[in-house]
């Protein structure tokens, strides 16, 4: 079968240091797939390889059976692969609406249009407003992004990624830095995303991971340790061993 997202023998070396070690990962279409592992396991590097931010030393990345390994970041987005960032990468001086309109414009190929005003492209604005509505951000849409609470800013991260209408969405620690009270709400928004969007999630909060994911892959020292359902992973002695030494993160 064709997976939504695959890596085949993916390797990334920085000098002699192997950060991603022969990772073969299969993510099924529609999955809620979590990627866990102790600090320094190479999770973010893997995301960077998947999205084209980094080029692998060897191996390949495929989406729906199609090879993406040598495509640039923005071309992969056009193929339906979107991501959020562990640390917010937003447009501080733009309003929330402008930010999302910008993202929608890029997907619709409107950003090369230089004559009519932004406001004349009403479809893009409606779509952006609708997206903000589903994420309950419409009330703050006129605010400058930098003036919002951190939890709201994390939602804008997600809104920007969703504006690309991805078939695969990579969430790099979406709840990082968000107070627990707000992170529940955040995850409700994530859980409510349509099932036809495949989600790959990196997260340190195991509660959230086990409630959200249907498949979990464990990454240790750049290599894939094991993969399974939340039940299998919870009872896997190898995983326990890894995490006992890293108890602070469990």
């Amino acid at each position: 079968m064709s997976y939504a997202l695959q890596t085949q023998n993916l390797v990334k070396k920085f000098g002699g240091f192997v950060v991603t070690n022969d990772v073969t990962l299969n993510v099924e279409a529609g999955a809620r797939h979590a990627l866990i592992g102790p600090n320094g396991a190479g999770k973010t590097t893997l995301i960077n390889l998947l999205t084209g931010f980094l080029e692998p030393t060897s191996g390949s990345v495929l989406m729906h059976g199609k090879e993406l390994t040598h495509l640039a970041q923005h071309q992969r987005v056009k193929h339906g692969l979107a991501r959020t960032f562990q640390i917010n990468r937003l447009f501080s001086e733009l309003t929330v609406l402008e930010s999302v309109v910008l993202a929608v414009n890029e997907r619709q190929g409107l950003s090369a249009k230089f004559w009519k005003p932004v406001a004349a492209h009403t479809q893009a604005i409606e779509e952006a407003a609708e997206l903000l509505h589903t994420l309950k951000l419409l009330d703050v849409a006129h605010e400058q992004t930098r003036n919002l609470a951190y939890g709201k800013q994390r939602l804008i991260e997600i809104a920007l990624a969703l504006a690309a209408k991805p078939s695969v969405l990579l969430l790099d620690e979406p709840a990082a830095g968000v107070p627990t009270s707000e992170s529940r709400e955040l995850f409700e928004s994530i859980a409510a995303l349509p099932r036809d969007v495949t989600i790959v999630l990196i997260e340190h909060d195991m509660d959230l991971v086990f409630r959200f994911a249907d498949t979990i892959s464990v990454l240790v020292s750049g290599a894939l340790l094991t993969q399974g359902t939340p039940g299998e992973i919870a009872n896997d002695p190898k995983v326990k061993e890894v995490y006992l030494g890293e108890a602070a993160h469990v």
Partner: protein, 335 residues
């Protein structure tokens, strides 16, 4: 989505009003017309202001909107000036077609050098833009058979504008010519920065690392705006050549590039109007101070710059913006 709630949404309403001409803007454009009648003896200076404002506008497009720093923008100004100058010195004295050719030639140089400029980060860009301008300067200096070298390009014969208006000694034709070209190109630039393309440029300036993750071909956008900026600068240079009927080697000088950057910072970048206001403030100060104190006027100019930058950190426009916000007014043109 219910359309009613969309129309009522304040964010949508603001976005839709963003490109509307404000009364303050219309008033602003009456100033040069007023200046024509108030300072009839200073038309040459006013013309220089309009040309420099256009040149500065071109830098604002690439720096203020796309975040590309340049210390060699005079390359495009000078190339435009020499192009128009050589055309007029060799029998093609029709001014408007001269402008268009100059714009095209500068645009081609912009397109080619953008490949170099986009390779690096800020400091590299400063060096690359500086290097390109220095090379052009020395080329023009060396090729005396073509450019006249340090003596300047002589023998331009610019024909009457639209076949009707001679370039007179007082400078009336030159003034209106420069002003109309400035306004038209400003109008185009204004449309551009309010378009989706302009929004994408702002996105690049604010967070270049995020843009590819939205699917944006960042380098293509930057190449486009750099080329447009180069064309604008070329038009400014051509205007200078045509209205003075002379091209001096200093159209390509480092000083011109550096001064331009200073003017833009002084006026405030990223608002288009900042470029024009910076030009007016700088050149007026220059004019008045050098009259008062011909030998040491730069000292006072320096003091003025420090004062403005310290009081209003993001230039005159930044100061106006804050003043307007303080009065609780509609931000209008200060956006």
């Amino acid at each position: 989505m219910q359309t009613a709630s969309l129309i009522n949404n304040i964010a949508v309403a603001r976005l839709c009003a963003a490109d509307r001409w404000q009364p303050a803007e219309l008033a602003f454009w009456l100033l040069p017309i007023a200046a024509y009648f108030v300072f009839p003896d200073n038309l040459v200076l006013l013309t220089q202001m309009a040309i420099t404002a256009l040149f500065c506008l071109s830098l604002d497009l690439i720096l203020g909107y796309a975040g590309i720093v340049s210390l060699g923008h005079a390359a495009f100004f000078g190339l435009g000036a020499y192009t128009a100058g050589l055309l007029a010195a060799n029998g093609w004295g029709e001014p408007i077609s001269g402008l268009l050719v100059a714009a095209s030639v500068s645009a081609v140089l912009g397109l080619l050098t953008s490949l170099l400029v986009l390779r690096g980060a800020d400091l590299t860009r400063l060096m690359v833009t500086l290097g390109v301008a220095m090379m052009l300067f020395e080329l023009a200096n060396k090729m005396t058979w073509l450019t006249g070298g340090v003596d300047g390009l002589q023998g331009m014969e610019v024909r009457p504008l639209l076949g009707q208006f001679r370039f007179d000694m007082v400078g009336k034709t030159a003034f209106w010519y420069a002003l109309v070209v400035l306004f038209l190109l400003f109008w185009v630039a204004r449309k551009m920065v309010h378009s989706p393309f302009g929004l994408a440029l702002k996105g690049i300036r604010l967070n270049v690392a995020r843009m590819p993750a939205l699917g944006a071909p960042v380098n293509m956008r930057l190449t486009a705006v750099y080329t447009i900026g180069a064309a604008y600068a070329g038009v400014a240079g051509a205007l200078m050549a045509q209205t003075t009927q002379f091209v001096a080697l200093d159209v390509l000088s480092f000083n011109r590039s550096a001064e331009l950057l200073l003017i833009l910072v002084l006026g405030g970048s990223g608002s288009l109007y900042g470029a024009i206001i910076g030009t007016i403030v700088f050149m007026s100060a220059h004019h008045v101070l050098s009259d008062m104190n011909p030998e040491y006027w730069q000292f006072w100019l320096g003091a003025l710059l420090l004062a403005i930058v310290l009081i209003a950190r993001d230039g005159v426009m930044g100061g106006l913006r804050r003043a307007a916000a303080g009065l609780g007014k509609n931000k209008g043109m200060a956006r």
